[in-house]
């Protein structure tokens, strides 16, 4: 296959990461420190997720990697190739065929099953970091369950904007104990954090691993009079017509033409293959926004 150890990392590193994963599963939502390694890709490109995936992969796995829902973007393609080369695992774009999915900033639309593992790439694992920059303090706040600041932040959103303006990396409380950053997934995805799959979170630069076991209780923080809302663009997908999936807005010309498409490329393709049509489906390749003007 090649001259790398299976899944790139040496065995001692994998053991260290594996022990951290087990403790993370035992204390859901708590960030376990780990000795993150230099990876052959820069910080910010998923080094945390890659290390967690490397520690979890078995040769029989079928790996899917998504970046903002898409299988074909640079980050997803390079990580998929990395594991094809270093672990020799099969890869797929199909959510339902995958046994391990590494993701940057999305949860697939299709509900995950108990035999799947979802690995998140996390940039800033500490939900309190932008409210309190000192690690010594945030650690104390977690230990004392002192989460008033997060509610103040959400309250300030309401005071300023009339609603909770936080739209991604929306903080959640896990099993009534730890407040956790679900990574910068859109808040539309927050309800999907309660899943049958095992969910692991890896932050390489910040050296933290945390986890959600299956069926873990995950509550998005809110107020009685401003309940949490999983929002999305108020459109249907222009390619597959789905009214329930999370959408990307794409500018298609210089005249203000735009379209909305599913962020989850596999979900969208599967629907189109099944014959579902969107607003722009019949018009062939989309090059202009003329439909809007007509």
């Amino acid at each position: 296959m090649n001259d790398y150890n299976f899944a790139y990392l040496d065995e001692q590193t994998k053991r260290m990461i594996r022990r951290a994963i087990l403790k993370a599963l035992a204390v859901p939502g708590y960030q376990v420190p780990f000795a993150s390694r230099e990876m052959p890709m820069p910080y910010g490109w998923g080094t945390g997720g890659v290390q967690v995936s490397a520690a979890c992969l078995v040769p029989e796995d079928r790996l899917k990697v998504i970046d903002q829902g898409a299988d074909d973007t640079t980050n997803a393609v390079s990580i998929r190739r990395f594991f094809e080369r270093t672990a020799g695992v099969a890869t797929t774009g199909r959510t339902r065929d995958a046994t391990l999915i590494q993701t940057r900033h999305r949860i697939p639309e299709e509900p995950l099953t108990r035999d799947q593992i979802l690995v998140y790439q996390v940039p800033i694992p500490e939900p309190l970091r932008f409210l309190e920059p000192r690690e010594t303090e945030t650690r104390k706040m977690h230990s004392l369950e002192e989460y008033g600041l997060v509610h103040v932040k959400l309250y300030e959103d309401i005071a300023r904007h009339g609603q909770i303006a936080t739209s991604y990396a929306y903080p959640v409380k896990v099993e009534g104990r730890y407040v956790m950053d679900p990574s910068p997934i859109p808040k539309f995805d927050n309800p999907k954090l309660e899943s049958a799959a095992v969910q692991l979170f890896g932050a390489g630069r910040e050296q933290r691993i945390y986890a959600l076991p299956p069926h873990c209780k995950v509550v998005s923080l809110d107020f009685e009079d401003h309940p949490f809302e999983a929002s999305k663009a108020d459109h249907a997908c222009d390619l597959c017509g789905s009214a329930t999936s999370y959408l990307d807005e794409v500018i298609v010309d210089d005249a203000g033409g735009r379209m909305f498409v599913c962020s989850d490329t596999d979900y969208c393709e599967t629907r189109r293959d099944a014959g579902h049509l969107g607003r722009l489906s019949a018009s062939g390749p989309v090059t202009t926004g003329q439909e809007d003007a007509a």
Binding site: N5, F6, A7, E11, Q12, K14, R15, M16, R18, R19, A20, I21, L22, K23, A24, L25, A26, V27, P28, Y30, V32, P33, A55, C56, L57, V58, P59, R114, R139, K140, H142, S143, L144, E175, R177, Y178, A196, V198, A211, L212, P213, P214, H215, C216, K217
Partner: protein
């Protein structure tokens, strides 16, 4: 010195996948293979030692399992130091009665609850009946033939501190993290 993995990288990956799924889904019983430590250590316990232990993880051996042969096996295959005090251990191995009392193990600190011991409990039988488990990782309720109930309840009361457990019997293993709520079967109608 025999009994180690023939293909450490791959067999460790398989062993860990089973250990992780067991810890993620308390009550699930999974099969492992590939390691053989000196008597009376089970295959499953030997796999856990090989997958998880190295020079950074002090191991404490309960009297039921402590032997020169096992100490040598652990030193040769994992490099883990075998310690004399259970309070120094990251992993402990033994039969349930021999591992007691649980009070002496590290349960982590308020700021670092992960710095707690993991106990590998060797069982004569491991079945999906008996005590009722609920909590993270469990859809409704699971059942597992635990050696005790009160001890695991007391451990749960320490959450987020506390001990985490693997139960091993032959080539099968299950796990009970500190987050699981344990009840007697009779208490659940």
């Amino acid at each position: 010195m025999t009994g180690g993995f023939a293909d450490p990288s791959i067999q460790s990956a398989w062993g860990f996948r089973a250990a992780m799924m067991a810890m993620a889904r308390p009550g699930d019983i999974l099969k492992v293979a590939g390691a053989q430590a000196p008597e009376p250590v089970s295959v499953a316990a030997a796999v856990l030692l090989l997958v998880l232990c190295d020079p950074e993880t002090p191991v404490w051996l309960a009297p039921s399992h402590d032997s020169v042969a096992l100490r040598r096996w652990i030193a040769f295959h994992t490099g883990a130091p075998v310690v004399e005090a259970r309070g120094d251990a990251v992993f402990a191995l033994g039969a349930w009665d021999s591992l007691l009392p649980l009070g002496g193990y590290r349960i982590g600190t308020a700021e670092y609850p992960d710095r707690s011991a993991t106990l590998i409990v060797e069982m004569n039988a491991l079945r999906g009946d008996g005590a009722v488990l609920t909590g993270p990782g469990i859809a409704d309720a699971a059942r597992l033939s635990l050696p005790d109930v009160a001890a695991f309840r007391a451990n749960r009361a320490l959450f987020p501190l506390g001990l985490d457990f693997f139960f091993t019997c032959g080539d099968r293993l299950a796990a009970l993290p500190r987050s699981t709520v344990v009840a007697q079967a009779a208490e659940v109608v």
